[in-house]
């Protein structure tokens, strides 16, 4: 189990234990954390599981695949620290990860 913190736009923090192998998106959806829609179910075919990653985590995360940056073009207010949470697979290395959820997904 790996600890992941989700901070909503209203500044509410949810820290939960996510099973390794799941994605950061699945961790949010399964625990009813508001603000992550994941319309396509994790297929990198929409941009509705968009999160902002805390700066110090940016380089510790697995690199983006080609399609992820393309999808992020269509996200709501993308920034340099934007990621699709469906592409972040939870492992021991991600223990303590903090992500901010944007004000909306669509």
């Amino acid at each position: 189990m790996t600890k992941i913190s989700y901070i909503t736009h209203e500044n509410k923090t949810y820290t939960i234990e996510v099973q390794n192998g799941l994605t950061v998106m699945e961790g949010a959806v399964q625990n009813d954390i508001p603000g992550i829609d994941a319309d396509c179910g994790g297929g990198m075919a929409c941009a509705t599981c968009h999160v902002y990653v805390k700066e110090d985590w940016l380089n510790k995360l697995p690199k983006k695949e080609d399609g992820e940056e393309d999808m992020l073009d269509m996200a709501f207010e993308p920034k340099t620290n934007s990621r699709l949470s469906c592409q972040l697979i939870v492992s021991d290395e991600l223990d303590g990860l903090v992500v901010n959820i944007p004000s909306k997904q669509t």
Partner: protein
């Protein structure tokens, strides 16, 4: 008022194959779609991307799949109502009265929602000020390019639409092209063209910038853009175009009194019927235990929903299960037999 046995909402692969199934078992149907063309997500989101998990088709693109489904519908006469969004569904005795945004009316005992993840709408700029200029000097699509003749047009986006319009409008306008990063996802040929036009000064290219504000009273006077490292620029412009792709909204479906589960509609797995008799949901938009958002699942769901429609459309007839290989009835409908 158009009368039909079943109305399909959504002309994506699921809707198309369901139309085939309805016609095959002898029911009339019509198809409505919010987009201006047939194909749904396959055409709108990934026309060129190959799909590898359609049974018996090792590899095909979204466009090829759509064309094949249209070909499969050739024996049948099916009316498509494109660029029409269904706004309202009301019960009147045994029928549903369906009204579109263009006031087209349908009367039918069966409504099949094959709406994917809802209707596509352009993703919009986030600054609040943008709203008041929308459809006046700020657009998410181009209807008549003559409007921009001799004007300064600032285009935002990094895909084919943004690149294509930058090239096209650079012939008649002064074009700024702005994108949030250095890489573009449009076709290489168009991108090369944009780079060439930038070199000779016909397009001004600004990357790693995003829109933060629009200044102007009734018309746009200028816009404020900001880069990742905090640099802010004020650009004089007459028009702003945004091409950020499409987002999916459930839209008016949310108000039809159906049981929803997040953005999907709950159905049973026998008829794929919703909590309203005669309203079915199939494909990506439906949910039930074990639901897979695969095209092949949509085909199965549509085939079963079509059989359920039969009962309500022809209450005095009995549906008989038949194979296309052997049934002369079906072969006649397919135009393979006199």
């Amino acid at each position: 008022m158009i009368k039909t046995d079943a109305l399909i909402i959504g002309a994506g692969p699921t809707g198309l194959f369901t139309a085939h199934q309805l016609k095959l078992i002898g029911l009339e149907c019509e198809v409505v779609d919010n987009l201006d063309k047939i194909g749904g997500q396959c055409i709108e989101l990934y026309p060129d991307k190959p799909i590898y998990d359609i049974p018996a088709i090792p590899e095909c693109t979204g466009e090829e799949l759509t064309n094949n489904l249209i070909k499969q519908l050739k024996p049948f006469d099916i009316k498509f109502h494109l660029s029409e969004r269904v706004d309202e569904v009301k019960k009147e005795k045994d029928n549903w009265i369906v009204r579109t945004n263009n006031r087209k009316l349908f009367s039918t005992p069966n409504v099949i929602i094959a709406g994917g993840v809802g209707s596509f709408e352009p993703r919009k700029f986030s600054p609040k000020e943008c709203e008041k200029f929308e459809n006046k000097s700020l657009f998410y699509s181009v209807k008549d390019k003559k409007l921009f003749k001799g004007k300064i047009v600032t285009i935002f986006g990094g895909g084919d639409s943004a690149l294509d319009w930058a090239v096209e409008l650079s012939k008649i306008s002064k074009v700024n092209l702005i994108h949030r990063r250095d890489e573009f996802r449009g076709s290489q040929a168009t991108l090369d063209k944009v780079k060439e036009l930038t070199k000779i000064g016909n397009i001004r290219l600004l990357t790693k910038y995003q829109l933060v504000n629009i200044i102007g009273k009734s018309d746009i006077e200028s816009i404020v853009i900001k880069s990742d490292d905090g640099d802010t620029q004020n650009l004089k412009t007459d028009y702003v175009l945004g091409f950020f792709g499409l987002i999916m909204q459930l839209g008016p479906i949310a108000n039809w009194g159906l049981n929803l589960n997040k953005k999907t509609i709950e159905v049973d797995t026998e008829k794929f019927q919703t909590n309203q008799k005669g309203i079915y949901a199939i494909g990506d938009i439906c949910s039930y235990p074990g639901k897979l958002k695969l095209i092949l699942s949509g085909f199965h769901e549509g085939a079963l929903a079509a059989r359920a429609c039969f009962k309500l459309a022809k209450p005095n007839e009995k549906y008989r299960f038949e194979f296309t290989t052997t049934s002369s009835n079906l072969l006649k409908r397919l135009g393979k037999k006199e």
